[in-house]
Every structure is written in structure tokens, then in C-alpha cells.
Symmetry: C2
């Protein structure tokens, strides 16, 4: 029975555990075996805690045997992003100065996942402090794309996406500032949701009021992602931005009717896409039409999104890394030092201008969404690029100004705060994964999950197991 458990979905594994068809220990062992086999190729899991995971699995098995109700994620091994604190498990944020940091407490979100029965099996790789959409750092090196190990897995939740695609874990968390839940999902042929702010409580963090970073679920299917989300939502007063949300809708089957639903296939002026990505995504207009949607080409003006994002992001790094960067001998990567210094040069008027521009942009997107229920665009502007390249400097002949400009298809969406999901959309001719991003109407609208599932049901790209994982 335990043969091939690592290939099963999270929902299926949870069912098998709850019905006592397999034990949590068997599930954990199957995944540990896969990690042992595949992780050396992709370097997704940077800290592994097999014994702790086995202990937790045994405890879960014992509780089930005693007749306790299993939680929604009971028996599911999970990889936690190395930015997120785990009690007793090294948490480095991908930076040298924290290489021996072992937190005494779990992050709130880890606590919620454990309460739901998830078993922490290890930590997933991230770029230093989660900055940039290429997962490498001085401590652990780069994580490789499971579909093409010479290419990047994206980031910053790159270890998570790779671990999922390589069948090393059935669920994984991530965080998203400028696209870190979406970009690696797209590059690794898995699903990543950037929820709206406050939905997933997390922390404690030094600047809990920073409004652009959110945490969320990743999985190999929308149904699995929704199951995981159901264990992550809910008010927690330890996170000052937390809001009340009902987990039930995410546990039930995500079925909906989309006949006549208007979907915008957007052009965002100034945003460049690699033609290989555009070709894969644009072929799916008809997929959405087959679902029943009315798909229309539309132009969405997101001017100022870039300035707002770059300003607030620089402010954030100045507020959290300012003193670290100034320390003599600090070994933070150069791009991040530059961002922090850029933040240290900002004044209140610069930040004020960003907040005013953000207010205007929010309103512009809101008005656009009075016509359309969703808008669709490629998750990323380029396909996965070589793993030894730090970032993308040019798209279709246009030079990029900063190291995150090639990520604007994600970070523009961050600014107004709409929920956005990346779902597998297929592969380039060279076999590199491409993701498609569906953006919902407003903060409280999580129906993107339902549309993404309908899309997935017709396409099923995520079912293609990468060669390294076979």
C-alpha cells in the first residue's frame, strides 16, 4: 500500500490516513525516500528533520488509533519555507548571519498547519531574505528546476515549488511580496496562490504592518491548495492585520459555473513578455471559452504600479535590514544592499506619493473589474532561465532597469492587493513550464480558486511528473 504514496495528492493521502488505509509513518517514509533520491539533484530541501517527522507521524498514528478526529491535513508531510520560523528547526532566511538560528517558537502559520495535522519534514530553500525570484544563496547554493535542472526554479518560494513538483512533499507554504508564491509555481508546473492581505495570519515579524507581504499555500492541484488554505485562514490576534475568514468553503469541492463570466485577457501597457510564454498562455483563450467564459482582450492601465512597488519595497528593506546592512563585515547580497540603501534615501513624501499612487491604482483596477470578473495574464514574463544567471536583464530586446523588472507581471498585481493564482499552463517547445495567472475581483473574492480548478480540470498539466522524480 505504501508503494507510490509520494505520487498521490494531498486530499487522497489525507483520506487514506483518516480511513486508516495507510499510517502517517508510511506516508512520511515514502516522502523521505523520495527526498533522499531526488533532493541531491534539485537542492530544494535545505534542512531535513527525518526523526522529528517520524516522531510526529507516530504520535498522529497513536492519536488516530485512540479515536481522535484527524485534522484536515493529518498525515501530510510539509516543507516550510526557510524564511518562516520553525521550533527547534534551523531557520536561516538564506543568510549567513542566521546560519545557526534555531527558533524557540513556530511561526503562527506553522502552528496552524501543525494543529491541522501537517508533519514538518524540512525547510525549503529561499533566496537571501526572500529577495528576488531566483532561489540561490551563499549558504545552500541554488535550487534547480525539477523539469530542467540547468534552469532556475524561480523564487522566492523556489524550494517549495521544486519540492512539490519533484514529489518530495504534497503541500508547501510560501510567501509572496512581489510574486514569490506565483513565479516559482509557474516555473515548476505547480499551483501557487497569493491570498489577499490578512487572510493567512503569520508572524511574529519585526514589521507586522507592512502591507505587501503575504503568506499562502502551494500544491500540485487547486483542490490540494484549497485544502491547505482551509488550515491557514482564520483570525489570529497575534497578527495585527489578520481578518476573520471561514475555512469551510475551501474544504468542500471547488465547483462553480462560469457560463457567461467575463474574463479579460489583459495587455498591461509597458509590460514585455517573452514570445514563448505568450504563445503558451494565449493558446488558452479557448480553454476559458470552453469553460463557458466570455474572453475579451482588454488594456489594463497599471501605470505607477512599478514606482509604488519599488518604493514600498525599498522602504520595507530599510525598515528591517537598515541596521544589518550598515554593520561592518555584513555579507548581504549586493542587490539587497542596493535596495536597502535606496530605501534609506527615501523621505516621507516619497512614501506618501507611493501610497497616493497606490490608492489611485486600486481604484483604476476596481473600475476595470466592474466589467470583468477576472483577468488573466502569464504569471511570468519569461520562461525559466539558466540557473547560473542571477536575474533577467532583457526581454525580447528590451533592457530591464533593475533586478526585479522582469517580475512586473507579478509585482504589479501585488500593489492593489487582489488575490492571484498561478496554475500550470503547459510547456515551451524546449519543455520548460509556463504558468497562467488568474486575478480576482477584489480582496474578499477567492473565487479565483474555482476558476483555476475548472481550468486545471481541462488541462491537467501538473500531472506530468518531472523526469528527476520518476
Amino acid at each position: 500500500m505504501s508503494e507510490g504514496l509520494h505520487l498521490k495528492s494531498a486530499r487522497e493521502l489525507a483520506r487514506l490516513f483518516a480511513s486508516r488505509a495507510v499510517s502517517a509513518l508510511e506516508i512520511v517514509e515514502a516522502h523521505l525516500k523520495q527526498i533522499e533520491r531526488v533532493n541531491p539533484v534539485v537542492n530544494a530541501i535545505v534542512t531535513l528533520v527525518p526523526d522529528a517527522a517520524r516522531d510526529e507521524a507516530r504520535a498522529l498514528d497513536a492519536r488516530l488509533a485512540r479515536g481522535e478526529e484527524p485534522g484536515p491535513l493529518a498525515g501530510l508531510p510539509i516543507g516550510i519555507k526557510d524564511l518562516v520560523a520553525t521550533r527547534g528547526i534551523r531557520t536561516t532566511s538564506g543568510t549567513i548571519s542566521r546560519k545557526d538560528n534555531v527558533p524557540e517558537h513556530d511561526d503562527i502559520l506553522v502552528e496552524h498547519l501543525r494543529e491541522a495535522g501537517a508533519i514538518v519534514i524540512g525547510k525549503t530553500n529561499t533566496p537571501e531574505f526572500g529577495a528576488g525570484s531566483q532561489t540561490f544563496n551563499e549558504l545552500f547554493g541554488a535550487t534547480r528546476n525539477p523539469y530542467a535542472p540547468d534552469y532556475t526554479c524561480g523564487g522566492s518560494s523556489g524550494g517549495a515549488a521544486t519540492a512539490l513538483a519533484a514529489r518530495m512533499v504534497p503541500i508547501a507554504d510560501g510567501s509572496d511580496h512581489g510574486g514569490s508564491l506565483r513565479n516559482p509555481a509557474a516555473f515548476c508546473n505547480v499551483v501557487g496562490l497569493r491570498p489577499s492581505p490578512g487572510l493567512v495570519s503569520h508572524g511574529p515579524v519585526p514589521n507586522a504592518y507592512y502591507p505587501l507581504t503575504v503568506h499562502g499555500p502551494m500544491a500540485r492541484s487547486v483542490d490540494d491548495l484549497a485544502l491547505m488554505l482551509s488550515a491557514m485562514v482564520g483570525f489570529d490576534d497575534r497578527d495585527p492585520l489578520s481578518i476573520v475568514a471561514d475555512p469551510e468553503p475551501f474544504r468542500a469541492p471547488l465547483i462553480a459555473e462560469f457560463r457567461g463570466t467575463r474574463v479579460a485577457w489583459v495587455d498591461i501597457p509597458g509590460m514585455r513578455f517573452d514570445r514563448r510564454v505568450r504563445a503558451v498562455v494565449d493558446a488558452h483563450r479557448s480553454t476559458f471559452e470552453d469553460i463557458g467564459c466570455v474572453v475579451e482582450q482588454a488594456t489594463l492601465d497599471m501605470s505607477e504600479a512599478n514606482e509604488v512597488f519599488q518604493t514600498l519595497r525599498a522602504y520595507y528593506y530599510a525598515s528591517t535590514l537598515g541596521s544589518l546592512v550598515r554593520e561592518p563585515g555584513s555579507r548581504i547580497k549586493e542587490t539587497l544592499v542596493r535596495n536597502t540603501e535606496q530605501g534609506l534615501r527615501l523621505n516621507a513624501e516619497d512614501i506618501g506619493r507611493a501610497d497616493l499612487a497606490r490608492t489611485r491604482l486600486y481604484e483604476r483596477v476596481r473600475r476595470f473589474m466592474q466589467t470583468y470578473a477576472y483577468f488573466v495574464l502569464p504569471t511570468t514574463q519569461v520562461p525559466p532561465f539558466p540557473v547560473d544567471q542571477e536575474y533577467v536583464t532583457e526581454i525580447e530586446g528590451a533592457k530591464m532597469t533593475t533586478y526585479i523588472d522582469w517580475m512586473s507581471s507579478c509585482h504589479y498585481i501585488t500593489v492593489p492587493g487582489n488575490p492571484a493564482i498561478s496554475v500550470p499552463a503547459g510547456f515551451t517547445e524546449a519543455g520548460l513550464p509556463v504558468g497562467l495567472q488568474i486575478v480576482g475581483r477584489h480582496r474578499q473574492d477567492l473565487s479565483v480558486l474555482r476558476l483555476a480548478r475548472a481550468f486545471e480540470q481541462r488541462t491537467r498539466f501538473a500531472e506530468r511528473v518531472p523526469e528527476c522524480a520518476l
Copy 2:
């Protein structure tokens, strides 16, 4: 039947209207008559729209006659704060440069109040741009305390509080940045609630992401305030900070059992109180004990709250008033010019430090609230002061540094974002009203309304009609 309608509660008026015992027009006429008689003494309503109010009343009467379901506020005249946009009705923000500003659209919150059946009867006075807790401006002069016309009504929702106490309106809205819903409620013997952020949608405003300003209800009783709140809550995607909330609990009777509930009677180190205020409030420890609460003296460390509030407030004015202040010939009041200039001198690190300190303060208050369900302190540090005094410069011999230092009992509470309500607590020996502030456990906890109502049921100070209104 229409005799004395202006003395009735909002709930009673709504019942009388819905049962067709009185018409909306009769209710409006009764309040217009009171305004005509009393407003010249107190100067609370600075723009009156009697004809528009009568038209709306007639329309409501007609709709009821046709059998339409009346809204929860149907037939209730309301005064809207002059900071808040009203379609076709002059909205000045108390500043010379907007003296002829007539908005084309209602603010979102006005729209919601009108949809619930409230009848806008006029605009209530506010200090210039709502800054400071003394309601005066160059356009309309000062609003006077209804209980002692030589004294201030407080502010910034001073026109609203005065209009309520003087029985000119049964409900009124206000906004609260550093205490503007609570301070004037205390000074005028009415009830004011500072809801947690996002609960009451409002706008559009230029900086919709500024997290410290909220809008909320004011009334002469907690039940009336809750009824009004029920029409103000609810998700509205036009406000980017809006959250989903159920209005039903605020419509039902606000009953609860407080036996054994732990209430902290707080000392906040460094916060000075006038002994007259302290005496009135401290006499109510036994009132809370009579309700069933366990009241304990406790020290709450709110250090850094002042720096955080003053920094973020200065940032806010720099972001919204920076260009106006720089205009040659701008006639903005000097205190506000100073705050704006202070904001223009801030850099990203200053703002970052404020956000980090706010995060720490939030956590400190949260931990304190693990022991106590509520904490109580005087709403204001001083009783109402003479109307010709711009602000308080000294409390019990201690000099204040800025023009808002005497308001720290309110603005400290603003910083962590907990809901706070001011209820009438009695009068000084000289007959000046004093308010008591109850602060709830966390953002999602609005049970402060229930405790405030239990307190009010035993004290009934708000029933004392000021002489000018008799």
C-alpha cells in the same frame, strides 16, 4: 404626536416611523425646529439643508405608504461631519480653500447611511482638516459645549457630539484619528465608538491606505450607536481596507453577561490626568463590580505609542497636505502647518522605526489582554476647557510639549488599533461632562458595545438634557 420627537431615541423614532405612528416629515420638522432654536447658541451645524431633508422625508413617507420595507435608520435625521463628502451639499473640511466645495458624490459611508434610510439634515462642524480636539476654524468659528457654552465641545467630531447632546439630531457620524470620535463624546455627554480599521468603509480619500483614521457612529445611547453601526459595517470594495462584517449582531439587543469578566483599571506610565476627571471615572470601579466584573488596578506599558502616533500622523499630513502647505498664500492653521513640515522632514527610517515600534506595542497590548477582557481609563485627560483656549498646555502642573499631548489617553489607543468606546461617566462639580473609555481585546472584538451598554443601563448620565436644549 410630533411634540418632543427630538427628545426620543433613534431606535424609538425608527419604530415610530416604521409603524406609521409618525411620518419622516414630522420627525424632520421636529429636529429642524430644535436646530433653529438651539444651533445659534452652540454652532454645531454649519450647513443646513432643510428643503433637501424635507424632500427626502416625503420620499421616504411615500415609499413606506407603498409598502416598501423601511431601512434600519429610516426616518432618522443625521448630521454628517464636514470632512465627509455629501452630494450637492457644501463640504469644507473646515478650511478656507474649500469654502465653496460642493461634492458631486456622497462618501461611501454617507451612501450606506442614506441606503439605510437616514435623512441628511446638515453638516457638523470640525476643526480644519479634522486636526486637533478643539472644534474651531476660520470659516465657521468654534462649536460650543452644550452643557457649558463658554467651554469647548472637544473634537474633531465636535459638531456631531454637540448636535447630538443638544437634541438636534438622533445620530451622527464622526471620524477618529487620535480620538475624534471619543474626545467630543466625552466632552458632550454622548457615546462615540472608534471601531477597528476596515469595519466602516469610507472614501474615496487621497490616501486610502493610511491605517490610523477610521470612521464610526455617535449617538446618545449605546443601543442607538449600535443601530447606526449596523448600517455602516459591511464590505465595500471601494475602500481598499474594508473587511467583511455581519451587521445583525448590532441590530439585536446588546445583552451580555459579565459575571467574572476581568477588567483592568489601567495606569499608563507617563499619562497625566486632571484630578477632577480621575475622581469622576474612578468612582465607577464599583459600577463595573456591580455589573459583575472583577476590576483590577493594572499598569499598561504603552511606551513608544506617542512617538509612533506623532510620526505616522506627521507622515499622513505630509502625504496629503504637503503641496497645499507649500502654496503661497495658503491659510492653513499654524499647528497643522507645523505637523506637515514635521512630516516633510521624516525619512523612511523614521517611518520604519514607527512601524517596528507599533508592532512591538501591538504585541505588548495583546499580551496584556490575555489577562483582561477589557481595560478602562478616562476618555480624556482633562474636562472641557474654555472655548477661547486653542488647546491644553498643562495638566496638574505638567507642561505639554505639543498641541495634541493632552489627548494621549485617546491617541495611544489608536496605535494598536483596538476598538474603544467612550460612554458618559458623569459630571465634574462644575457640571462639565466626563467620559469613560472601554477598550476591547482585539480588532475583531466589538463586545465593548455590550459592556458599555451594561454600564450605561446603571448610570444613565446621557439622559440629562443640557439646558440650552430644553
